[in-house]
């Protein structure tokens, strides 16, 4: 990995306040942060900026998080990007479905703090093999 290139995290979250808090926390850690407020934007931004990690909410206006997962995993240039699902859904079926669709991790928002999220993001970044 190039040490001086900022690693980028795409946060997909429709709640404005949650989004800005999460962005603030990751930005503070020196990560490049991109945001998307809905599914369509998320896919478009992902294609454009090629983030290193995606933090994805599931309940989104328009395309929902599951559909975003599918679209990104179907995209050759994006399918290797680890996706951390960060949602307030958290029933067994939701988790299994996200896993099946290729999510790297699943965190129920209310059960974690942003520091926990940061840890998981770092975990995924560390696991990325240098291209």
């Amino acid at each position: 990995m190039e040490p001086n290139k900022k690693q980028t995290v795409l946060i997909v979250e429709d709640d404005e306040f949650l989004r800005s808090l999460a962005a603030k926390r990751l930005d503070k850690e020196g990560l490049g942060v991109q945001v998307a407020v809905d599914g369509e934007t998320a896919v478009a931004v992902a294609k454009e900026v090629k983030p290193d990690v995606i933090v994805l909410d599931l309940i989104l206006p328009g395309l929902d998080g599951f559909e975003v997962l599918e679209k990104i995993k179907a995209e050759e240039s994006l399918k290797a990007v680890p996706i951390i699902v960060f949602s307030n859904l958290g029933q067994k079926e939701d988790i299994e479905r996200a896993q099946y669709l290729g999510a790297a991790n699943f965190l129920v928002k209310s059960n974690f703090t942003l520091d926990d999220l940061l840890d998981k993001v770092k975990e995924q970044l560390a696991a990325i093999k240098p291209a």
Partner: protein, 321 residues
């Protein structure tokens, strides 16, 4: 001409009726001649038919009304499910926001804070976390109630029942003290080990105790009794009773007590929040343990729930005969 005819009819109508009546009598006599006399006490066939038809219409009307009521209840049920799941999911979002903010404040991630400010932020964080736990519990109830929780998901293990009950009683220590309720646990001298799903059985006793404590007035008494008296019957079962001196269940509402979302009228008056799911879940779990649950209750005197739990889970669907 027409007028004349009308006048004749009007003037002579009593006679016309008489004549018609006679005509009917003659007809009936002819019928009797053909079919024989109706037996004593027997209602003429046409009246029977009429009565049957009327009854049928009545039944049809009732059926229609019942169907409608049932449909409405089904809708209500679905609406309540949706309500539970939507509110819980949607509650989690603002709760997350508050939790994260307090957390970042407490850790100084939003700028320097004094020790006192840090302490307050920390308390705010803890309170929010408690609220989140409650929401999580509701979601658990929700998923159990959506029928996703079947016996196949159960994890049976050999558990000391007294220990399990004690761990539940421990949860109520503060509540009981605050309400000045006497909490008694009677258990046999020897330990009773049964094959149960400890997590779910925990929910059973939690719900029963919660009701007992919640609906018992200050200074009342709640007694939990674990008994091995039924060990020597054909099938070894442990019996547990949870008895309170609470508000009781009105006799007219007792048949509904295990129904989902049902709350007795006096319970609603006393404790406004409550989802009416507790006992439905209890029944479901006890059934899945091949146990039985029943109760007796008198309004304003108290309620006693009895439940039996087999010590061994029999393999399912074995026909004894």
């Amino acid at each position: 001409m027409v007028l004349l005819l009308a006048a004749v009819v009007i003037i002579f109508h009593p006679f016309i009726f008489l004549w018609y009546g006679e005509h009917q009598k003659v007809k009936k006599l002819l019928q009797i001649a053909q079919l024989g006399l109706p037996q004593e006490g027997m209602v003429p066939a046409d009246e029977v038919t009429k009565a049957v038809e009327a009854k049928q219409r009545e039944i049809q009307a009732k059926e229609l009304a019942l169907n409608l009521a049932n449909k409405r209840l089904d809708k209500l049920d679905t609406a309540k499910f949706e309500f539970v799941s939507v509110t819980t999911h949607q509650l989690r979002t603002p709760l997350s926001a508050i939790k994260w903010t307090f957390d970042m404040l407490a850790k100084g991630e939003l700028g320097p804070v004094t020790d006192e400010q840090k302490m307050f932020a920390q308390k705010g964080y803890e309170s929010t976390d408690r609220a989140i736990e409650i929401v999580n519990e509701l979601l658990k109830i929700d998923s159990i109630q959506e029928g996703k929780d079947t016996r196949a998901n159960y994890n049976f293990a050999n558990v000391d029942l007294a220990e399990l009950i004690n761990s539940v009683l421990f949860l109520f220590a503060n509540q009981v003290k605050a309400r000045n309720i006497e909490l008694i646990f009677n258990k046999p001298n020897t330990s009773l080990v049964a094959q149960v799903d400890p997590k779910r059985l925990h929910v059973v006793f939690e719900n029963l105790l919660d009701n007992a404590v919640k609906y018992t007035k200050l200074g009342g008494r709640v007694t939990v009794t674990l008994s091995d008296a039924k060990l020597n019957s054909a099938r070894s079962v442990a019996e547990v009773t949870v008895s309170d001196t609470g508000i009781g269940i009105p006799s007219g509402e007792q048949t509904k007590i295990f129904q989902r979302f049902f709350r007795s009228s006096n319970a609603v008056k006393l404790v406004t929040d409550g989802n009416g799911l507790g006992l439905a879940i209890v029944k479901d779990i006890v059934d899945n343990h091949q146990g039985e649950i029943w109760f007796e209750s008198k309004e304003n005197e108290g309620t006693t729930f009895h439940l039996t739990l087999p010590l061994q889970q029999a393999p399912l669907q074995i026909n004894q005969s």
